[in-house]
């Protein structure tokens, strides 16, 4: 269990993390979302005392990070896969880390096997691909068999097989009762990986809820209706208070997009009007749609138009 309360971090006049509070519960994967520069990485560094917070507290199972005698046993951390000395082998990187917290060498071999790096553990890290470094970082995070796992962009640089592997791994870790906090820019992946979400923008909390709830709250239900009698259906739907948008020229189109009315109600309205339906389909909006809609005002860096 992680409890973040009123966390604030300033760099000079810039407030990177602003009175941020959220919780990460055991047994669930919690996604940590925010646009670039929103303070995710700073928050993670403050959580483990690498950056000094100006205000607020972070508790791991009721204790601050600095109070953990052997923190690797309690909190597994992957902040950046590149935080490794390139001239050292992956195995030796894990060995010094294990030694620092009194973890036996045999565990190093276990986690190397777990992440699939046993055969290349003796190779120097400068010869690793980004995906291999991510796996090494995950091995380091799992070294102490911790109850809490914090991962910053763990899927970066992984191939599709690697992304599936890390998704399954995180779900497995959560299924064992661990609290897993993971940040990622890959929103489609996050929707498959996480059950809960913490969404931040410009350092402050925007929302904390389940993924399904977040999508539901922040998108509009839309239904695609195709019918030879689409005009009649459109009239009925408008009369019921929903909005209708024709696909193409309204004079000739047989298709509309209905917003603000459930698919079941539209079907019933069509039946009452005696209209034939060729298509009645809910347009499911994605986590990405919800995220972009919620964080539109908090995007620090915005791209120009594609035209």
């Amino acid at each position: 269990m992680i409890e973040v309360t009123a966390l604030t971090k300033r760099f000079g006049k810039h407030t990177a993390v602003d009175d941020l509070s959220f919780t990460v519960t055991p047994g669930r994967v919690t996604g940590f979302l925010g646009p670039n520069g929103s303070g995710k990485s700073t928050t993670m560094r403050c959580m483990v005392g690498l950056d000094h917070a100006d205000n607020g507290s972070v508790l791991f199972s009721g204790r601050p990070y600095r109070a953990l005698r052997r923190p690797i046993h309690e909190v597994g951390l992957l902040l950046d896969a590149g935080f490794v000395h390139p001239a050292r082998s992956g195995r030796n990187h894990l060995r010094w880390l294990a030694a620092s917290n009194g973890i036996p060498r045999a565990r190093v071999e276990e986690v190397l096997g777990l992440v699939g790096l046993s055969d290349v553990g003796g190779r120097r890290v400068k010869n690793y691909s980004l995906g291999m470094k991510q796996r090494l970082g995950l091995a380091a995070a799992l070294l102490g068999d911790p109850a809490t796992v914090i991962l910053d962009e763990p899927a970066n640089g992984l191939d599709p097989e690697g992304i599936r592997w890390i998704r399954d791994m995180l779900r497995f870790l959560a299924s064992e009762g661990r609290a897993v906090l993971v940040s990622s820019h890959q929103l489609s992946e996050m929707s498959l990986m996480a059950q809960d979400l913490v969404v931040i923008g410009r350092g402050h909390l925007i929302d904390q809820c389940t993924v399904d709830e977040f999508v539901r709250r922040n998108t509009t239900t839309r239904v695609r209706v195709r019918s030879p009698q689409v005009g009649e259906i459109a009239r009925q739907v408008r009369a019921a208070g929903a909005s209708v948008e024709y696909v193409g020229d309204s004079a000739v189109s047989d298709t509309v997009i209905v917003s603000g009315m459930a698919i079941v109600e539209i079907g019933e309205l069509a039946a009452e009007a005696g209209a034939v339906l060729h298509e009645l389909a809910e347009l499911v909006e994605s986590l990405e749609d919800a995220f972009l809609s919620v964080t539109a005002a908090d995007q620090e860096y915005r791209s120009g138009g594609a035209s």
Binding site: R45, L68, L79, G82, F83, V84, H85, W96, S100
Partner: protein, 252 residues
């Protein structure tokens, strides 16, 4: 604390560059002592004191190499960001710097001991084979020079650690560690003497400690062996304390 020291020892021994520096530090005085033994004209006039005197000067190069090693050992953690992994694993940052100092002290003492005795043995054996009398004369200072050299190397390892914790940048730290005795202290001495302040060279800690390796002073501008090492040791430990305090306050 033992776990942290073990961890730091693994870090030191698992980077090839460190071994390269150690090997050069060990070999260099031996090579010089051997070459002098082989090529010195009239070898029969040589004595063990000549070899001791030679090593006391040449081995300062080994001291500076080891100083670079300890500077790089710490500052590369900042350049590769492994310091964040380290401090996440050991939140009490002073323990990390203390463990680095312990590992640096022990390893430096061992390496300098090997460098000194191998160089002495090779130099004296070669000269002895060429007909010189290599028995130790009554006025020899073999143990004194050895202890002063090891002491200097250990203190310089602390000096490098302290500067590394303050500067956090490998090239800058190595340059300062190397140029401090060669340039900085000379400039300060020159500037003060131009301003009319004499005998200030006596208070340049790094140069005094280097001079104390070979010199047994009888006053003048030299502090003397124990005093010079104590003085430089205090300065080096002061830097370590300042570095530790700054490191604790700054973000990793």
């Amino acid at each position: 604390m033992i776990d942290v020291i073990r961890s730091e020892w693994i870090k030191v021994r698992t980077v090839r560059t460190h071994w390269v520096l150690v090997i050069i530090a060990v070999i260099f005085p031996t090579v010089v002592a051997s070459l002098v033994g082989v090529f010195i004209p009239e070898p029969e006039t040589g004595s063990a004191n000549d070899i001791i005197s030679l090593i006391s000067g040449v081995a300062v190069f080994s001291v500076l190499l080891l100083a670079s090693l300890w500077a790089i050992n710490l500052t590369s953690e900042y350049s590769h960001n492994t310091i964040r992994v380290t401090y996440a694993a050991i939140p009490s940052r002073w323990k990390v710097l203390f463990a680095k100092a312990v590992v640096g002290t022990v390893a430096t003492a061992i390496v300098m001991s090997v460098a000194f005795w191998v160089a002495f043995a090779s130099g004296t054996q070669i000269l002895s084979a060429r007909g010189a009398d290599m028995s130790l004369p009554d006025d020899h200072d073999l143990i004194g020079v050895y202890l002063a050299l090891v002491g200097l190397a250990v203190i310089v390892s602390w000096f490098s650690l302290g500067l590394g914790a303050i500067i956090r940048n490998s090239p800058a730290t190595v340059v300062v560690v190397l140029l401090w005795p060669l340039l900085l202290e000379n400039l300060v001495t020159l500037a003060l003497s131009l301003a009319g302040v004499d005998s200030v060279g006596k208070w340049m800690p790094y140069q005094q400690a280097i001079a104390a390796v070979s010199d047994v002073p009888d006053g003048g501008d030299v502090l003397g062996r124990p005093a010079a090492h104590l003085y430089f040791g205090a300065v080096a430990l002061g830097l370590v304390v300042v570095g530790t305090v700054l490191d604790r306050r700054r973000d990793a």
